[in-house]
């Protein structure tokens, strides 16, 4: 079993780094995008609310593979010449953002309405009220579901291998073709994913603790 990683160290390492890069970039992008869309969904401007609702409904209800296809086939037609990695980031982030938006919105709903009213009565703008008062308090309730969503995102990133992106899952076919026992190949790949997701869980747990508010 050890010879799987001994012989394929470089390949596995490339795959691991690929998945890690996808995780970090897509994680940040989908958090930013998800927050932005959640802000649209609670905004006082109706067209922004409609946009937010439409976005969430569209991306939450479309299979991720379909989004990958749309990006990988559609963007070149529109003469956007991105790398495969960038295609993967766009597809995975837009998809994950729809779910993160809803997690943030349910977090926002746990913040008593009086908090926002007090902020508005002081003369704070919508953006100030959201960023200074509501989101910091919504964070605590939103972090656990966001954690699960990010872990799902790491798993979903495996789809990127079908679209020519170097990542962990994609290394398995090469190794299995080269005659290594598929069981051990997959065990090592699973360990690679676990390293990423467990680290992420630990970071999120720390964040949740930091956001805790005494009421």
């Amino acid at each position: 079993m050890l010879e799987v990683i001994q012989d394929n160290w470089d390949l596995l390492q490339d795959g691991f780094v690929g998945t890690l890069k996808l995780t970090v970039v897509c994680g940040i992008a989908s958090l930013l995008l998800g927050t932005l869309i959640a802000a649209c969904r609670v905004s006082p401007v109706p067209p922004l609310r409609w946009f937010g609702a439409a976005y969430v409904n569209l991306f939450r209800n479309t299979p991720l593979t379909l989004i990958f296809f749309a990006v990988a086939l559609g963007f070149p037609k529109l003469r956007f010449n991105f790398s495969f990695f960038q295609f993967a980031v766009i597809a995975l982030s837009t998809y994950t953002a729809a779910f993160i938006c809803e997690a943030i919105r349910s977090g926002i709903n746990t913040v008593p309405i009086g908090q926002a009213e007090a902020a508005r009565s002081l003369g704070m703008s919508f953006t100030q009220t959201l960023s200074q008062i509501v989101l910091p308090q919504a964070g605590r309730a939103a972090v656990p579901p966001i954690g699960s969503l990010l872990i799902a995102m790491v798993r979903n990133s495996a789809i990127a291998s079908a679209f020519n992106t170097t990542e962990l899952m994609g290394t398995s076919s090469t190794m299995i073709e080269n005659g290594y026992k598929s069981l051990w190949v997959l065990v090592w790949i699973a360990i690679g994913y676990l390293i990423i997701t467990l680290t992420m869980s630990a970071l999120l747990a720390a964040l949740e603790k930091k956001l805790a508010v005494v009421r």
Partner: protein, 271 residues
């Protein structure tokens, strides 16, 4: 507790606005509501409200539950939008949403029944946040003023605590300091003592009496008759979305003109 007792005066130990009478305020209109109407769906919560609040005046709003007192208060800083009529503050028409509205709101302080202190900020940060973020004042100036205000409302030693660590009375006094930090032209109080344990009511009313004495323009929704008698220039009685009666506190409490007011007073005075 502070008193303005003068060594010579034999009768009123505490000099209140009521004693000074209508001359206490300059008479210049500050908040003007003209023909204001508001619905919640089919419910007509505010019906043809005309109300002028003068600079330096203290107006107490009373009335049965559901009569629209809170809604009236909240329309003055547009936490509730109105369907018809107009509201001006210091001559400026209340704008629609946006930057202008935010600017006007910052001139209107609001104190809520449930305090609504920012739970994730310290007491000091609660008071400094508005001046820092909305007015973009310098941090050292704001912090100094915040400490002065907290001392003034008697919670100076709690500055670094979080709201949840304070008693209700302390929280409400911080909320008053937070509103005052914006140096508002008028202060709105929506049942500021209703959520408090009885022993904490007075410490909050005392802060409000001091404010009234210093000439702050105030609209106070409250059932505290003692406060109304000692601090208010005028009592407004609301029922079913209308202003039914308006009078000086003495006249209103001893001699209510409408049946609704008589009925209401008999209920709250002899419960």
């Amino acid at each position: 507790m502070t008193t303005d007792a003068s060594d010579t005066a034999p009768k009123p130990p505490v000099l209140t606005k009521r004693d000074i009478g209508k001359d206490a305020h300059s008479g210049e209109p500050l908040v003007v509501l003209e023909n204001v109407n508001k619905h919640f769906g089919a419910l007509h919560v505010l019906q043809d409200i005309d109300l002028t609040i003068h600079r330096g005046e203290v107006v107490v709003v009373i009335g049965p539950s559901g009569s629209g007192k809170s809604t009236l208060c909240r329309t003055i800083n547009r936490l509730e939008a109105i369907d018809g009529g107009r509201i001006t503050i210091d001559g400026n028409l209340l704008p629609q949403e946006g930057r202008e509205l935010a600017r006007l709101r910052s001139d209107v302080g609001m104190v809520f029944q449930s305090f609504n202190l920012f739970a994730h900020k310290t007491v000091l940060q609660n008071v400094t946040l508005g001046p820092l973020k909305v007015r973009r004042e310098k941090a050292d100036v704001v912090t100094r003023r915040a400490h002065e205000l907290l001392d003034r409302v008697g919670v100076g030693s709690q500055a670094d605590k979080y709201p949840a660590q304070l008693s209700g009375g302390q929280q409400q006094r911080v909320a008053i300091a937070r509103a005052l930090a914006m140096e508002p032209k008028v202060m709105l109080f929506d049942e500021p003592t209703s959520a408090l344990d009885p022993e904490m009511i007075n410490e909050v009313l005392e802060v409000m009496r001091d404010l009234a004495r210093e000439g702050m323009t105030m609209v106070v929704v409250t059932h505290e008759m003692g406060f109304a008698r000692s601090a208010a220039n005028r009592v407004i009685f609301m029922a079913d979305g209308r202003i039914v009666e308006e009078n000086t506190p003495d006249e209103f409490f001893s001699n209510p003109r409408s049946d609704r007011a008589r009925d209401f007073l008999s209920k709250i005075l002899h419960h």
